[in-house]
């Protein structure tokens, strides 16, 4: 058995595994093989069906089915080929033939001694995967954010021709799906992978190879999603409602393929995180001593596991309609758009809590540290998260109140939806209870807590209006809805993620995130955000529908205000990006525990050793035992 020292992974000599194939594979070989598989598939299908480029996309949908077959198969071939080329199949193949990877091979796969190259390989070290997710998320947020700026620029004034409607509609849909994917993984990807195993005292995740797989599978989806732009975009929103999605041009295939690939990545990642937390906690870390971020991240991914497959099915059905002429969503042959809506929202509502919970949980991790008080009512926090997750599977049809699918069920769904405000209220209680009678140390992570409270309060209250069936008659499909969910998904979840980044930056990069840059970005973002979406509430309340490339003169004022706010957010994000890059490269070197936190990740140095801990830690109390005893 090899003993592993404290030397950073990059300084030790590279192990020499018996099989050399593993050492030769990386992102480059993956890309080459992926492109190869894609090109071969494309030409085979083109030979069979004829060129997809010669088709005139008219209203006769069946005419273009073979185009969809060609494009979809090419995309999946790319994804599969990339995974072959980067070595993802070596593990399963060796399992199949009974010659498992040797210890040296596994050590090699963990990136031992490979320096910066390990970030571009199939690396099983959870810390590497965490950084990969962080960069991936930042790229997606950047792309999605740029699209948002284009949307708001177009909507600055009525009658603007900055962007043509066909492009605008694509922008809206692609902005939406890019951001949704980014937000699903924004906290659990970087911090759930890098920090969480250390936080529970483990040496790595339960399934390190599957961890690398979930990242690289997601990676293959990124070019697929971007290809939508080159294929004519999508005419639907991110919800890809049928039958419009059936009718859509070739760009829709990129959307379908992305979701199917993403669903696979998330199922694996969710399973990995859940198993790790259930089975690999340190000795003494009983369930009532688990850090709240770990609990929140686990509940989030555990909810995702049953939720996302229904979206995948909806996409598969759309794909089948578009390729082999099934009729899941074609009313002429017995299909219904309501089927799509049900399957989508059975996923879609739990999914927004998958997004929300880790962000809130991260802030609950942060608040006790900076207020120097215990987390107020750990039990209420658990009850809040569990209650939200549990109820979230019973509320989906509140997105369909106005669809006419089953008006008699509107009442019951209204009841379940309204009740979500009870566990949600507990989350507020935990945070304000933690603040109460404390003297908060005002650093960037702590600032995010306050922003969250304001943003989520607005998001929550506006959600109550929307949950009311009569009011939804007015509000559904208007900009009011858009403003509401940006307050919750962006104001709450993204704020939480940014706070989490500021908090864990020292442990993930060894440096402190630049204070001044963070503060400037914080205020630019938060003030801009509120101007942007309060303006949007105004437009929505006045009756502006959502997803519109243009609007009546009456909404001009509100939209201009929104756009101004958007520019502030954009500028703030750029400042934040600058701060991150600058600090990562040349920021102040961080001490081991700059915040004085009591969770386990702050007991290891940076660079974090390959196996995290010399000795598996033993835990004797929860991590929130701050404080003079209560008066």
């Amino acid at each position: 058995m090899t003993t592993l020292s404290h030397k950073p992974a990059s300084a030790r000599p590279i192990p020499n595994p018996e099989r050399s194939l593993i050492t030769r594979l990386n992102m480059g070989t993956g890309t080459v093989v992926g492109i190869l598989f894609a090109v071969i598939t494309y030409y085979l299908l083109r030979h069979h069906f004829g060129s997809p480029w010669r088709v005139n996309h008219g209203m006769d949908m069946t005419n273009t089915h073979f185009v969809n077959v060609t494009i979809l198969c090419t995309m999946f071939a790319w994804s599969f080929g990339f995974l072959v080329g980067i070595g993802a199949l070596i593990g399963p193949f060796r399992w199949l033939i009974g010659k498992d990877l040797t210890a040296e091979e596994q050590l090699y796969l963990a990136g031992d001694g490979q320096g910066i190259k390990r970030y571009f390989k199939y690396c099983t070290d959870h810390k590497v995967v965490g950084i990969q997710y962080l960069v991936g998320v930042m790229v997606m947020l950047g792309v999605g954010g740029t699209m948002a700026m284009m949307i708001r620029t177009n909507l600055a004034t009525p009658g603007s021709h900055f962007i043509a409607p066909i492009i605008y509609n694509s922008l809206v849909g692609l902005h939406g799906i890019t951001m949704i994917i980014a937000m699903i993984i924004v906290s659990t990807g970087p911090f759930g992978n890098y920090i969480m195993p250390i936080m529970i005292g483990a040496a790595d995740m339960a399934f390190p190879r599957l961890n690398a797989l979930s990242w690289w599978v997601l990676f293959t989806a990124i070019p697929v999603l971007c290809s939508a732009w080159f294929l004519g975009g999508i005419p639907t929103g991110w919800t890809a409602y049928a039958p419009l999605s059936d009718q859509a041009g070739p760009g829709m295939n990129a959307f379908l393929a992305t979701i199917i690939i993403f669903a696979l990545s998330t199922a694996v990642a969710g399973m990995n995180i859940t198993t790790t937390v259930v089975a690999m906690r340190a000795k003494g870390m009983k369930w009532n001593r688990v850090p709240i971020f770990v609990v929140g991240a686990t509940i989030s991914v555990a909810l995702a596991i049953p939720a996302f497959p229904t979206f995948m099915v909806a996409m598969i059905q759309t794909g089948l309609d578009r390729t082999i002429s099934t009729g899941f969503y074609d009313a002429n042959v017995g299909g219904s758009g309501w089927l799509y809506a049900n399957l989508f929202w059975i996923m879609g509502h739990p999914e927004v809590y998958v997004i929300l919970i880790p962000g809130v949980a991260a802030l609950m991790e942060i608040a006790p540290v900076f207020v120097r008080k215990p987390l107020f009512s750990y039990g209420a926090a658990i009850a809040g998260f569990a209650g939200i997750a549990g109820l979230s599977v019973l509320v989906w049809a509140h997105h369909m109140y106005m669809s006419g699918w089953m008006p008699n069920l509107n009442g019951p769904f209204m009841i379940t939806t309204e009740f979500i405000s009870v566990p949600t209220g507990l989350l507020f209680l935990v945070l304000v209870g933690t603040l109460w009678r404390g003297k908060p140390w005002m650093k960037m992570p702590m600032l995010s807590v306050y922003a969250f409270i304001w943003d989520f309060l607005i998001g929550g209250i506006t959600g109550i209006y929307l949950s009311d069936v009569p009011a939804d008659n007015y509000l559904h499909g208007s900009m009011f809805v858009t403003a509401h969910f940006h307050y919750t998904l962006m104001g709450a979840a993204l704020t939480g993620a940014i706070g989490a980044l500021a908090f864990w930056f020292p442990k993930m990069t060894g440096r402190m995130l630049n204070d001044r840059g963070s503060y400037i970005s914080f205020w630019l973002i938060q003030i801009g955000f509120n101007v942007l979406f309060l303006g949007m509430f105004m437009a929505g309340a006045a009756g502006q529908p959502r997803r519109v490339a243009d609007y009546a003169q009456a909404f001009a004022h509100a939209n201009l205000i929104s756009t101004i706010g958007a520019y502030s957010v954009g500028l703030g994000m750029i400042v934040l990006l600058w701060a991150i890059i600058h600090s990562w490269r040349s920021g102040v070197i961080a001490p081991m525990n700059p915040w004085g936190s009591k969770t386990l990740e702050w007991t290891v140095p940076y660079p974090v050793p390959l196996v995290n801990f010399d000795e598996p830690p033993v835990v004797t109390s929860d991590p929130y035992n701050y404080g003079r005893s209560a008066k």
């Binding site: 399963p92 009974g98 963990a110 790595d204 229904t310 002429s325 042959v333």
Partner: protein
């Protein structure tokens, strides 16, 4: 020399590793179960809605109930074979060999059904389409069965090959792997039964 199959990083006993793997597989089963739930939901929902009276348009033929059930029989046999072999170690390798063969036959039979679908019609332009919601839902169940066949055959083949290498592998871990596979076999059997049950509702 026994190859070390576990990353030393864990320093965990095979017992612990085996339990973890079982939990992981069970979570993936939850995901697959959710997938199956979605397609079962589709079946019954569209059947109930009968939009445009086109669940089964006039004159469209269906598959017999018997054929819905025959196509999933291999999953049941594999489950039984595995259970028997868990009690009797010497039967493990033959059980997995038999299972692999049966699963390939099952996949062939499913494919055979797909090649003989009675409900694909031609539209005005001569292009084929699935005539009715029954037809559309049927093909997705066929595809799901196929997917289960492929995955399960991979597992049984792997256990067969690993069984042949018996003395070179950690026995405790391999015992756990048999148990973990058992969870999967149980699931595909249940999934198969649910599929057969659902597709019997014409």
């Amino acid at each position: 020399m026994a190859t070390h199959t576990e990353f030393h990083v864990h320093h965990d006993s095979p017992e612990k590793v085996g339990r973890r793997e079982r939990l992981g597989v069970r979570l993936l089963i939850v995901a697959d179960g959710s997938y199956l739930f979605a397609i079962i939901f589709s079946w019954f929902y569209l059947r109930n809605l009968n939009v445009n009276n086109a669940w089964l348009p006039k004159g469209v033929k269906t598959f017999s109930t018997a054929s819905s059930w025959w196509v999933i029989v291999p999953f049941i046999i594999v489950f039984i074979a595995h259970r028997v072999s868990m009690k009797n170690r010497s039967l493990r390798v033959p059980a997995m060999a038999l299972s692999t063969v049966l699963l390939i036959i099952g996949a062939w039979y499913q494919w055979h059904q797909v090649c003989n679908m009675p409900f694909v019609a031609q539209d005005a332009n001569g292009r084929p389409f699935y005539n009715g919601a029954y037809a559309s839902n049927w093909i997705i169940f066929a595809g799901t069965n196929m997917f289960h066949y492929i995955i399960t055959a991979f597992i049984t083949l792997g256990l067969f090959l690993r069984g042949l290498r018996g003395n070179l592998l950690d026995p405790v871990l391999e015992e756990w792997r048999q148990r973990v596979a058992g969870s999967w076999f149980t699931w595909v059997m249940i999934g198969g039964i649910l599929s057969a049950f659902t597709t019997s509702f014409k």
